[in-house]
């Protein structure tokens, strides 16, 4: 499995062969607060890089989830739909959002590595 990549919209992505697993970052959950609702993209649907791919809602507000790359949704994580609080406790492992069959791996080039993302999220927080 390759290294984890990050988007400016605070999503993370892990690539395994043709399949990318995508979720939202710890930093994103800290900004959102307690998550109480999640909507995931439909199985078999095609999502476009930086396009809408679901919604998370905290007690305070609703926020869109974006996909950092394009592809076909081959799996979505029903366990976070049933228990959205999981997203707050383990956002970067167990509480992944969906898996994509990647359309164009070169789209990953524009994403950040862990170090770059940490710097980015620190700056955007201040």
């Amino acid at each position: 499995m390759s290294e984890v990549k990050y988007s400016k919209e605070h999503e993370w992505l892990k690539l395994d062969g043709e399949i990318a697993t995508i979720g939202i970052t710890q930093h994103a959950t800290e900004m959102l607060g307690d998550i109480v609702f999640v909507e995931l993209p439909d199985l078999g649907s095609n999502v476009e890089k930086d396009g809408n791919a679901g919604v998370v809602e905290s007690t305070k507000a609703a926020s869109d989830v974006y996909t950092p790359i394009s592809g076909e949704v081959v799996e979505n994580n029903q366990s976070i739909v049933d228990d959205p609080a999981k997203i707050n406790t383990d956002p970067e492992n167990e509480a992944w959002f969906f898996k994509l069959k990647v359309k164009d791996k070169s789209e990953l080039d524009s994403l950040m590595n862990k170090e770059e993302y940490e710097k980015f999220s620190k700056e955007s927080a201040s």
Binding site: G33, D34, V36, F37, E39, V55, E57, T59, A61, V81
Partner: protein, 368 residues
């Protein structure tokens, strides 16, 4: 714009508050544990709320003051007992609500607690209506602290002897560190609790004492989920200048004898609305499943007619489900009427619900 700070600002920071701008003040939206934990600790234990941004207005006067205030408010104030609090409204001629407020009869007049965003306008309106006949002070020297929850009376009693004898919607003067402070048994969470009016320079020490005795600080986020579960209106959302108390389903707050007598601003409109009914009325709305319908969500009937709009909606941590309030056409306001809520372009089923969503199960042996 420069944000105003309450006397508890540094205490909020000390306890890890996430601070936001609210009605011109820098206020805590939540602390480190988050909204859901704060909500639950208020329902199960005791929560402390800094509501110092709200207005504390003192109007001093003798016998004629109650009569003059009755020309403004739809509330029986002439017969109010000393230290009795009443929920009321400041309205325009069309019975549109400028503000909802709590009026308490005190020895030398009346205390009125006003919403933060409305207090300066309220002051101007009231000064004009009372024609500067009475001394009016909108205090800058006092903080307002609420403690709410089933253990609130026990914790507060440890700090201030005698408070647990107060009856609901009643107040009294108490001694704290040789300072005279005024406390009412009231609140806005659906829980038993108190509101304490205390000098700014004593506020931090007082709140720290409540924390040491086992209560925890609660932010505006949980205050919103608590009041919504309790079916209580938030001014500027569930009521405003375009809605009357009758439309807001708050007719109970208008004193019976005042509806007969009249003589207050907005009376004609209120009377006609009570007699002829209203077109739209505030209701509770319970979405099916987990979908959350926020403010401005459109409400549809089963035959797809737009019948209203959500004014507040969130996830209710104690009812463990989404809850909302909104206005619907009167013919759709019956409990259990099936409606649809349009969220992100899709329609989701919901039903008109009784308020409150959360009903207090009082602990036996708790103070009356």
């Amino acid at each position: 714009m420069n944000k105003k700070k309450t006397a508890l600002n540094s205490l909020h920071r000390k306890y890890g508050a996430k601070l936001v701008s609210f009605a011109g003040y820098e206020m805590p939206i939540q602390y480190t544990k988050g909204i859901i934990e704060e909500h639950k600790s208020t329902r199960e234990n005791a929560g402390i709320f800094d509501v110092s941004h709200m207005g504390q207005l003192f109007i001093k006067g003798d016998g004629s003051l109650a009569k003059d205030l009755e020309k403004i408010f739809p509330t029986d104030l002439s017969n109010a007992k000393l230290n009795q609090s009443k929920y009321s409204f400041l309205m325009n001629e069309e019975a549109g609500i400028y503000d909802d407020l709590i009026i308490t009869k005190v020895k030398d007049g009346f205390n009125i607690v006003l919403n933060a965003a409305c207090k300066d306008t309220d002051f101007k309106i009231l000064s004009k209506l009372l024609d500067n006949k009475y001394q009016m002070i909108l205090s800058e020297e006092l903080s307002l602290i609420a403690i709410q929850g089933p253990k609130a009376f026990m914790i507060l009693e440890k700090v201030i002897k005698g408070v647990s004898n107060l009856k609901f919607m009643n107040g009294g003067s108490f001694n704290y560190l040789n300072e005279n402070i005024y406390i009412t048994r009231s609140g806005y969470t659906g829980e038993d609790g108190f509101e304490i009016s205390i000098k700014n320079d004593k506020a931090e020490m007082f709140v720290q004492k409540l924390i040491d005795e086992g209560a925890s600080l609660i932010g505006l986020g949980a205050r919103d989920t608590l009041r919504l579960e309790a079916g209580l209106c938030l001014y500027g959302h569930d009521m405003d200048i375009n809605k009357s108390p009758v439309e807001a389903n708050l007719e109970w707050a208008i004193s019976k004898n005042r509806i007969i007598e009249g003589g207050f601003i907005g009376f004609e409109k209120i009377k006609s609305q009570i007699e002829k009914g209203v077109n739209k009325v505030r209701v509770g709305i319970k979405p099916e499943g987990k979908i959350i319908a926020r403010e401005k969500t459109s409400i549809f009937s089963e035959d797809n007619k737009n019948i209203g709009e959500i004014t507040s909606g969130t996830f209710g941590p104690s009812v463990k489900a989404p809850v909302a309030m909104g206005y619907v056409e009167n013919s759709f306001s019956k409990i259990d009427t099936k409606v649809f809520l349009e969220v992100r372009g899709k329609k989701y089923p919901a039903s008109i619900s009784n308020l409150p969503f959360y009903k207090k199960s009082y602990v036996k042996g708790a103070s009356k």
